[in-house]
């Protein structure tokens, strides 16, 4: 890799450019509805649909364009870390030798000045000053050299690197989740047992309950489930929203519920033309023999009855808002009655075939088994995301609240003493502070230069 390419990949300018582009794309992704069928865009955004589909803006966050930007950002973070870390570690490692000379071995940046006289004649005092301010102090004095080193906030030195490392780990976790996470939806009616695909255990729904607030809105859904392995119950637990069940590598979530309308039990009241009522119970799809020798069949049940433009009946929603059943009566092989009967509105009943004048059929009640929809998910990337988040937060704390401070004072026999100071931020302010501490303020010190 050429030095130019390395510099580019590690540069803050690239980070700024990428952040701006990613922000713009992310905004676009919230303005254009995501993950719809192509026809949706042609219908609702006719003028821009071609562009949207061409640029993959319909699934922007997993489009090659977006993913390559994230990947470039990941590279940027990695190269940035590779560029910064060696100097940071060198700064930690170098303790005494270099500063007795010119100080040039201490990694840049550094603020360096040559002093007229050695300040360490009163070393214990110097030590106390810095120890009081929570510095770690190190002192070496021999015939040849004198070295004073005080520093604090070591974690703060690595604050940004911890943040960036945390981000790298989070993005890695996100990629692993995107590739390897699995979600399966499982619908169970009470008493039903289902094998979980790819696992060696079964799940049984023992009981499903819905709890309501006094005003009628839903308070909670609860699924009491048993985990069965080799025919034995291993675990029983209630799964609720916000309280998933963890078993093996899977977690089971309460996602939704519904009613199995194909299994509806109907209570029908038949009013015979010659007078007299007969009440029967029947399940959809079943047929039953009646008093007069005819057979009654419940063909289907629709919870929210509507008729479409072609006259076809369908259900507008899965809720029992306008329930209706299609009922047929046959004598021998002759159909004598066919019609929709509505719950609560017998006057709306639509008889499509009625050969027995006076025959009335009403839907008195209905009930369908409730099923609970659970979602089983396994996400091998999640733990990395949690670790990365921890590093990120620790790094933020260190970056902003544990400022790194470093003071080096050294002299080799026969030369001028040298003072080196360094802080990650506000270096000039820190230099001033140290000058005050050392009693140099206002004195003529020979400040060589500040390397930038």
């Amino acid at each position: 890799m050429t030095p130019g390419a390395w510099k580019f990949l590690a540069s803050v300018r690239l980070a700024i450019a990428l952040l701006i582009i990613i922000i713009i794309l992310a905004i676009i992704g919230t303005l254009i509805p995501q993950e719809q069928e192509a026809d949706f865009y042609r219908q609702h955004l006719p003028r821009s649909s071609a562009l949207i589909l061409f640029l993959n803006l319909d699934h922007l966050y997993r489009s090659p364009l977006f993913l390559s930007l994230v990947f470039l950002f990941l590279l940027n973070l990695l190269f940035c870390a590779l560029q910064q870390l060696p100097a940071r570690f060198r700064r930690l490692r170098i303790q005494e030798e270099p500063i007795t000379g010119t100080g040039s071995e201490v990694p840049e940046p550094r603020d360096r000045s040559r002093l007229e006289r050695w300040l360490g004649d009163d070393l214990p005092r110097l030590e106390t000053i810095f120890r009081k301010r929570r510095y770690r102090v190190r002192l070496v004095t021999t015939e040849q050299k004198k070295v004073f080193l005080a520093r604090k906030g070591l974690l703060g030195l690595f604050g940004p690197e911890l943040v960036h490392l945390g981000l790298i780990v989070i993005i890695a976790g996100g990629l692993i989740s995107a590739i390897f996470s699995q979600r399966i939806s499982i619908a169970l009616v009470e008493g039903q047992t289902e094998k979980i695909p790819g696992q060696n255990f079964l799940l049984r729904l023992d009981r499903f309950t819905t709890e309501y607030y006094p005003d009628g809105s839903v308070r909670d859904w609860k699924s009491l489930v048993s985990v069965l392995e080799n025919g034995q119950v291993r675990l029983r637990k209630t799964i609720e929203v916000n309280h998933p069940l963890k078993y093996g590598r899977l977690s089971f979530f309460q996602m939704s519920y519904g009613q199995d309308w194909d299994q509806t039990s109907l209570e029908l009241e038949i009013g015979w033309p010659e007078g007299g009522l007969q009440t029967i119970r029947i399940k959809t799809g079943e047929s039953i023999n009646l008093e007069n020798g005819a057979r009654l069949k419940a063909l289907s049940f629709i919870p929210d009855f509507q008729v479409d433009s072609r006259g076809q009946a369908y259900s507008r929603s899965p809720e029992a808002i306008n329930p209706a059943a299609l009922v047929e009566m046959v004598e021998g092989d002759r159909q004598v009655f066919l019609g929709w009967v509505f719950f609560g509105h017998p006057d709306h009943n639509r008889y499509q075939r009625q050969t027995l004048p006076g025959l009335k059929i009403n839907l008195k009640s209905f009930s369908a088994p409730t099923f609970s929809v659970l979602e089983a998910s396994s996400d091998p990337g999640a733990n990395l995301v949690w670790v990365g988040s921890g590093l990120l937060l620790l790094g933020l704390l260190a970056s902003f609240y544990l400022p790194y401070r470093e003071v080096r004072l050294g002299q080799r026999a026969g030369t001028h003493p040298v003072l080196l100071t360094y802080a990650r931020k506000n270096r000039e302010g820190f230099r001033q502070e140290v000058s005050n501490l050392l009693g140099l303020a206002g004195k003529k010190e020979l400040k060589d230069k500040t390397d930038e």
Partner: protein, 270 residues
């Protein structure tokens, strides 16, 4: 006295704090700034009583409806203002921050936001609601401080800069904004992103789903990452970073108000 009387009293006290603050502009060396500070502190107490009453009365976190959230955000802003006034002295930024607080209080007490307690849908019944929302809004309160300081930075007329002390005053605004971001950004990261991801993984089985509210908090967060890094590059520090701090807070506001009204998604009940 109920929750709303205390809210109204707090509102009035904040209004007085703002007026006292602006008065101090015209009377150099006056004690109006101190008056403003203590009025703010008093308002905070009254406001706290209102929030606590609400919490006890409803039995749930005081940020489940828009009214509650706006009131809590205003409360957090007052806390941020008080803390910053004590630690760094807000100087001329203070009264403009009170203006933001007063605006939020006006919104909270306006009839546009229904005051009724609404029962929590199942997904919201979690102690993560407390952690996620309170830490996020607290973070946003500090970002509001950065917003106002940056706005004042941008609004300083170029002509004025040649006057003595003006350059230093603007430098202080820049410092103030950075210090506020240094508090707000970690809080926002913790509350909005990390707690948000943990809660989403508990409630929905996935920590991230590119839901519009999630994306907009990410956008907000990226703006502040951008802010921090523009300060490292010569030529971006100052005006451009101030502009980004302003845009970042507007993104936070859109995440808070706009997403629910303009975009649809899983978060639309909140």
């Amino acid at each position: 006295m109920n929750e709303f009387s205390f809210l109204l009293l707090a509102f009035i006290t904040y209004l007085l704090a703002m007026l006292a603050g602006f008065t101090s502009f015209f009377r150099a060396g006056s004690s109006w700034r101190r008056v403003s500070y203590y009025l703010g502190l008093g308002g905070l107490m009254l406001h706290s009583v209102s929030l606590i009453t609400r919490t006890v009365h409803s039995g749930q976190a005081p940020f489940t409806t828009m009214y509650e959230s706006v009131s809590f955000l205003a409360w957090s802003c007052v806390l941020a203002v008080i803390i910053f006034e004590r630690k760094f002295r807000l100087e001329k930024t203070g009264p403009y921050l009170w203006l933001v607080v007063v605006a939020l209080m006006a919104l909270a007490s306006s009839p546009a936001l229904p005051k009724a307690v609404s029962p929590l849908v199942p997904a919201l019944q979690s102690y993560w609601l407390w952690l996620h929302v309170s830490v996020t809004l607290l973070g946003e309160a500090f970002l509001a401080v950065a917003f106002v300081a940056s706005l004042l930075y941008l609004l300083t007329p170029e002509k004025k800069l040649s006057q003595p002390g003006q350059e230093a005053r603007r430098e202080k605004l820049d410092q103030l904004a950075y210090r506020a971001v240094a508090v707000g950004f970690p809080l926002f990261t913790l509350g909005a992103l990390v707690f948000g991801m943990i809660w989403a993984s508990k409630a929905w089985g996935r920590y991230w789903g590119w839901d519009p509210k999630e994306v907009w908090s990410l956008i907000t967060w990226l703006f502040y990452a951008l802010y921090l890094h523009t300060r490292l590059v010569h030529g971006w520090k100052g005006k451009k970073s101030a502009l980004i701090a302003v845009l970042g807070f507007l993104a936070a506001l859109f995440t808070f108000f706009g997403v629910n009204y303009f975009l649809s998604g899983l978060h639309s009940y909140a």
